[in-house]
Symmetry: D2
Subunit: 352 residues, 4 copies
């Protein structure tokens, strides 16, 4: 390969599901190498203590969090910590010249008062936050290219916004009619010993949670409003589904022009995502299965129009841990580094 | 028990999931006994060839379909056949004095032209159909008591109508805003060797199907319209969930009076179902899990109001094969026979 | 029902899966009523805080553990606590006249030094322990009838011993050749937030654990040795299977007389279990599925002989939380009280 | 990439799970390209009719089977047909100069009379069959390099033989004591609409099948005997597990020298597989989970010795559709073509 230097990468919060996806994805990426793992509860352990089958991929030790040492080892730092921690670490890492890609909610909000009211934490890093770019490349590709700090979207917002954006950007739906019925596998709950995501509890069952008050609501509304050019309110209800990975968002909205038929809408979506290699708009009559997306960075979108009711139904399927989390973070990294958006990312899972 | 006579029961279509639930439920019912099994593809087999573990419960042979012989053996006949067959059999059985409880779509529609356009079959039995009662006891308890012929609701309509009825009956929602996002376990697809409900295909995946054109739509709309007193159109989208049993219907609608709060709505639902022992309205903040209902004839209903959007969200959970099918059929039988509505039906499954 | 008094029951350790099965089973039992719930970590909570859908079945508060108060409220006490706690509580409850049925390992061992070496706890209650009867009714029916203290078997030993007993009792197999490959659903791990039984980790995966050193090994060997009349060693390897409930034990052993054919062996098993209503020996060529047993107190046993290798293969399937735990405890209670062994216990689950 | 020519590949039997894995794997392989799809029941369809989400990967039409046309389009042909068909097609394809890699049972047996007695089909292609090499590279690497025709192992034999080979080759176990308790996900049953592998039937259940008479038994015994240098008989019992992919074989055998401890055995296994990049022998005390292997061509092997019983327990985990089927076929192709054994094959799945 010649005298080629891989860019050194640090992952902070390596033991969770976001961390293990990042480790796995980086191991396949041709331009970077993993050089540092940090963590809080897992500090002092070896990565392979936690994931024994990955011993050959990564035998790094998980270090305690010291910004100086992180910056010595890594040019790009992924923060995969619980909400409310990245905002303390990111300013220091940026100061030391690192590019920072945060997977938590800390840098997703333009208006920090919204963050504070939904996440219950005051923020001191307003200047830093003002430089953050929302890491949804299909909408903010150019801004990501220029950014030093990325606030990666939540898993539900990723699926939901990819389904809604063409409609809002082009003013195709009646404001305020958008309803998002979202369904997620239980890995979205993280690698934590919580009773409700035990197999014994969650398997062969299904239920809604955080009805009308999930924290991803203001995040979705912020971007929807920006796209529409005015305040948009959405109805968002998440459900826990007995499966490991995957999100399906079923989005309902009333069309402004009920004369629009399915094929028109598919054409509009395909045009909107013309330059987005990770979005696949299905053929008429085909609706996405979450399994199609699992193990890849793809988002599959299916579209139906109901002439009886004048509504559009958009279904979007992603792997919540890849396009909904770590894969999208690497997609952002690719753009920040001037690389091809698809570089090193999984194009396809295995079926079935 | 004295010189007590159990009422003899016939099941036609015994080999499918509806049939095996009926066999199982009847084995626990104190007033009836199974006396006849009939079938088409399974005729000639013993029931225990198909379900070996049930040999002690039922060792009847499955007979070919002869109305004379059925009527000799059974006073009450459950028809659990594919759509379009009951309408040939029911008139003959009624003539011979049997009470008939049909689990197919054949006797669910007051207007047979709707049936014909959605199910692709012309009907000659208009007179018979006109005597049929829609077998949802929570809405048509009195009529069921008087009926000789019941058209039992589909599984999705059962869950959806129990969620919508109090709202429509009392005019609480804006007509035309009702959206039903329904999710079902794969047993709803029946005991047929179809690729899409193989474990390998359906497990760890999720998708919508029959978007905006599922046959349960006109059935739901018929009853909704009757409750509202005018034509109601609903948006109905079903999804296949990787679990065996259970349906969750998440119903969205705009409140006419956005001042109604959650507790008011819960009070209204509880009043509506005051005399319905099989419906449980959850406490504020509690949302039903399908697992709660599995193995019982219960429907759990959870209610949330969203003051931001002025919408109500109602979630209803049932076991699709019991309250959504065979249990409800027995509930109808209890009413037709003048027995207590809960007699012999399972009040509770096992958890987890 | 006349002036009939139900026997008051106490459950200590009500919040776990053993406890919730007991609550559910007792609610269906015609001769007893639940009068007391006790717990440690859950003390102070209402039972319906933990299991909201069971509010109508049980609205008792969970009390702290005070033997005096327990004995005032309950004549029969089920202890469903972590290992090592019952041995402190049982002696006091017996002194106060309660019958005690313990679901932990504390009273399963005739030789307490074996208990101490496998469970790491010294014991002071030797006299009490000497009065305990091993609660496997199919083997110790008569002794259970006379007992005040029952040590209920573990879930794996129940399935494994029911498969092995006829062979050992009649000396049909070569000692030392018995291998038990056992597979369990994850509810066997209890209602605890452990990472390895999260749905995200355990679903779509399978592995062995505690290979050659699981604590159920000495328990199985104790009873096997007693049946054989000499020391028996077994190879026991448990596996975690991605399902909620159910255990399958596949037992391999070399026949002393390789001339014994499958039908002979089935005849021998059926004779052995002639008076055991909860054991069903399958017809030739039929092998049990765990789903058959789930939701019931049944054990299904399938038998195959391999003339090529001279081995017998016995497969036994139970619901780990019913016949493997709480149902068996009630079966013991029935015997202790002189009631029919099957009284009030579930004879059949729902299929599929 | 220069003026580089990819080797054209044909897949016969493209619509099944073997076929879709081959299509997917070939899309990632740097030296080959898919040029032909053939099938029987699926002939005439486009591949993307069957797998819509793979339309971008493969838009070939599935052709009827004509050896001349196949040989015009492909240099290497994978046969992924039901048993008993490859033996008609392979001789013609070999004659026309193709390399043939068969995934069915047709070319796995050195002694065709064994094939005929277990598969119920007489064979005319003895000469061709005599040239076939058993496609387990870890045992027959050199012979595969030289072969024109490969009979790829079954999924169970792959897992079982990788667990047993070091023991047999080195005479470490007592002949005749080997017992294989194997567990498979339901995708092993193929993409066929069979009732027993419906999600509704197979989920949350577990059972053995083909006890003591599964067709993989003689295949395992053939290779075991060859390794041992004398006839070996094994006890093989497969189980169906409620998961999509993955096989775990738990292998029990009595050690000739009971003094051998676990660490010795791990050392012996590691030496045996020193040059086998796709086999990973776990550290002491670590047992493989099938999920570790899923989505990769790896086989993970865990080893335990039980000093009490003198037995070894070996657990091997593979992805039944990759290392157990299509991945292994490509591994053979790599060897036949003189490429690196790991070329283009997936080294790691995603977790969890």
């Amino acid at each position: 390969m010649g005298n080629f230097r891989r860019v050194p990468i640090g992952i902070i919060g390596a033991s969770g599901y976001g961390g293990v996806q990042l480790v796995r994805l980086i191991s396949d990426h041709p331009e970077v190498e993993l050089s540092y793992l940090g963590g809080e509860s897992s500090a002092g352990k070896s990565f392979s203590d936690i994931y024994p089958h990955l011993a050959d991929v990564c035998n790094l030790q998980i270090e305690t969090l010291d910004p100086d040492i992180i910056a010595q080892h890594a040019e790009i730092v992924f923060l995969s910590l619980p909400n409310g921690l990245a905002c303390h670490l990111a300013p220091q890492l940026l100061d030391k010249g690192c590019k920072v890609i945060d997977l938590s909610a800390d840098y997703r909000f333009r208006d920090l008062s919204i963050y504070s009211s939904w996440y219950g934490k005051e923020r001191q890093d307003c200047k830093t936050a003002a430089t953050a770019v929302y890491g949804l490349p299909e909408l903010y590709r150019y801004q990501i290219t220029e950014a030093q700090l990325i606030g990666c979207p939540g898993c539900y917002p990723t699926a939901s916004l990819l389904a809604l954006s063409p409609l809002l950007k082009q003013g195709l739906i009646v404001p305020g009619t958008a309803i998002i019925d979202a369904k997620s596998g239980t890995s979205g709950g993280g690698r934590q010993g919580k009773i409700n995501i035990l197999l014994a509890e969650a398997d062969n069952s299904l239920g809604a949670y955080c009805v009308a008050n999930h924290r991803h609501t203001p995040e979705i509304e912020q971007i929807c409003s920006e796209l529409a050019g005015h305040e948009i309110m959405v109805q968002f209800v998440p459900h826990l589904v007995p499966m490991v990975r995957g999100i399906l968002s079923t989005v309902y909205a009333s069309l402004r022009d009920p004369g629009l038929v399915r094929d028109d809408l598919i054409t509009i979506f395909r045009a909107f995502y013309r330059n987005s290699p990770w979005v696949k708009v299905c053929n008429p009559g085909t609706y996405p299965q979450t399994k199609w997306a699992c193990g890849s960075n793809l988002c599959y979108i299916g579209i139906e129009a109901d002439p009886r009711t004048g509504r559009i139904v958009v279904m979007s399927a992603i792997d919540n841990l890849i396009k909904g989390q770590a894969g999208q973070a690497l997609q952002c990294m690719n753009l920040m580094m001037g690389w091809d958006e698809t570089l090193g990312l999984p194009k396809l899972g295995f079926y079935p």
